[in-house]
Symmetry: C2
Subunit: 411 residues, 2 copies
């Protein structure tokens, strides 16, 4: 039996315990030695639970027990989790985590430490919950140069947007429903502001580029400003609004990494990704486009990914499986303004004398008009332009019109 | 440099050579030793090509060269490919293949031989072309009991069906177009009869069940009988017709594996998988539903998967990476008639006296009527029933109506 410890017995930690128990015979066929949870680190006591005697509130017990080969960190955040992960790796224990914040913030350092100590630091569950994405990028797409990653990476915001699109709810109503269904936390800021998606695309960007991309290097826009009007006009153009994290490799080696809401057409597979599901498109120069889809959060899906990593660590208990996955961070990113794309604009009061070309046409090129000025409202999609051109044109346009919203259009 | 040989320099073999060349610096970061193609086995000579001096028509040269550590089999079929694969494994060489027929037919034997010789037999490219699917099932979903796999596994038939659905072409027209675009072979039988999809679902079923499932155990229905009428009636019901390979685990441990066209609703992610793309849904008891999507064929996508396996073999050159992935075959499958599902029926001439319940209602339960008897045509979807009940009812129904087509409905 290979002995492991779970740090933090919340939703994910508890799911890990459940999956290890429920699928133990299945897991035995993959890892003959078997995996046993010897400790659960938590400040709570869980009196009467079957695992009561495994619970400890002292990490030193786990750290100093040479029997513990694998530490499963499901605490979250970059505080205690960071400290415990470092200490576990220092002691030559493999660490498996679902902690996107920690990987995004300290991944390079922790991967380097793991390499030095000849153990694994595995984090499949940190992006996309149960969806296989980290390992497929590392291994299955290893023959490719990854040129682009675009993903719906946050289930909470996708649920909110889906409720706005399908049920005509306002942002506030949909957020309340998400909270009452357990899909949003009481303080939903990191989800709805795009920060959570930002950490995930930072991890994927690090994998794809080979350099640590820090969360600070990812400009994140959230979905708080999106109104039902925008959702309806998007539908009139045959599109849906989705919050996307995007990694794009530029000519010359720099990269763009950002999070922002986009209008996307129904020909994109991402448009069908609804509710709490996540979908991630990866483009490689040999494989073309591949997509991964599934539940991006939840106890059991996330635990599925964590336990897969635990099995992997157990099967390579005496050797590091991966080289350090990416190198040091640095000035590798460029502002996403360099990307050429179309933009959606909704504005009021830009009336033109009959027969005159509108300001919008003059500034934004050939327009795809969604709503042509009835009631003084102009809703349209611009020509493809880079972010600087767009901002300049937008500033000019604002002199004659009140811009109510603008958003990127994908493709 | 790790030396390898490509067997068969057709579309895939050539793609492998290209990807290794084009992405060599990328590949170097994954496999420091580097990979060099020393031989290309083909009966052709390729005079003037840069690889001319690597070409040989004698497998013994490759077999007897101790420098060759990896053999890349892209011949296809279960003839010479089988012989060469056995001989390469016998000599302790790793073998990487894109050959679904060989894996589906002799997988157990070849995996056992590889295990015995302490080398790898890798076949990521055999299912779904460049889509990561084999390794994600083996590794990323290893904590799950796989309960179901449903996939669009054949790009040729999906292209034909897409042309029927989107462009209103007949089956014959769409097939001709597929041929002229290089998506269908001159003899398209193995695609359109479902045999190719059958081999792929057999491989996935072997992985999921842990027992070798032979192609003969997979009942395959093709798409030759599907008419534009069916496509249009499906659309009226908000559905599309797709050729699906399906693996389903039954209570009691037996499994169903089959290939058949199905009507699927637009809420299924598979309904958005168009053209030559493949999409594969995997259901696990922890992860729920995940889907993998991408180009299921073509030189570069398939080569992407082959080269990923080559890199993997190169990185584990002195050790077997996987245990034998499945055990011996046997009587593990059950007829798919045991599955309860709904059925689509299109029939002529089952008129009923006004007010009387129709024969169809009496036999098939509460119907979802698509076309209600105008012009003597009855088109409807039955209640959920198992295959035996359905066949009995269908025989009875045929006494009063001429059944023009019937098909399974997914979900």
């Amino acid at each position: 039996m290979i002995k492991a410890a779970i740090l933090g017995f919340g939703v994910v930690g508890c799911g890990v315990y459940e999956v290890l128990k429920q699928n133990s015979s299945q897991i035995k066929t993959k890892c003959e030695a078997g995996i046993e949870i010897k400790y659960i680190l938590d400040i709570r006591k869980f009196p009467g639970a079957e695992y009561e005697d495994k619970v400890t509130d002292d990490f030193a017990v786990i750290e100093n027990d040479p029997e513990i080969k694998i530490v499963i960190e499901t605490i979250g955040g970059a505080g205690a989790a960071y400290d415990f992960t470092r200490r576990a790796l220092e002691r030559g224990k493999h660490v498996v985590t679902s902690n996107k914040e920690l990987v995004a913030t300290h991944g390079y350092e922790l991967l380097s430490l793991a390499e030095e100590k000849n153990v694994n630091y595995l984090f499949e569950a940190s992006v996309g919950g149960g969806i296989p994405i980290i390992r497929p990028i590392i291994q299955c797409l290893s023959a490719n140069e990854i040129t682009e990653i675009i993903g719906i990476l946050n289930g909470t915001t996708n649920y909110i947007l889906t409720m706005m699109i399908n049920a005509g709810m306002s942002f506030e109503q949909a957020l309340e429903l998400a909270k009452s269904n357990g899909y949003a936390e009481r303080n939903p800021a990191s989800d709805i502001e795009g920060v959570d998606a930002g950490r995930k695309i930072a991890i994927l960007a690090s994998l794809a580029s080979g350099h640590h991309i820090y969360p600070e290097q990812v400009v994140c826009e959230g979905i708080m400003e999106i109104t039902l009007d925008d959702v309806r006009y998007a539908a009139e153009a045959g599109m849906v609004i989705k919050l996307l994290g995007r990694y794009k490799k530029l000519d010359g080696g720099k990269i763009c990494v950002y999070v922002a809401p986009h209008l996307i057409g129904q020909e994109s597979m991402l448009s069908g990704v609804s509710g709490v599901f996540n979908g991630i498109i990866v483009r490689g120069n040999a494989v073309g486009e591949v997509m991964f889809y599934g539940r991006g959060a939840g106890d059991m899906p996330t635990a599925s990914a964590v336990v897969a990593d635990v099995i992997d660590a157990a099967r390579h208990i005496d050797k590091t499986k991966n080289k350090r996955l990416w190198g040091e961070g640095g000035a590798f990113t460029q502002d996403s303004k360099v990307l050429r794309q179309r933009y959606y604009i909704r504005a009021e009061g830009a009336a033109n004398p009959a027969g005159e070309p509108s300001d919008a046409e003059r500034l934004f090129g050939r327009l795809e008009v969604i709503s042509g000025g009835t009631g003084g409202m102009s809703v349209f999609i611009t020509e493809e332009m880079d972010g600087c051109e767009f901002e300049k044109a937008l500033d000019e346009y604002k002199k004659s019109a009140m811009v109510l919203s603008c958003m990127r259009v994908l493709g």
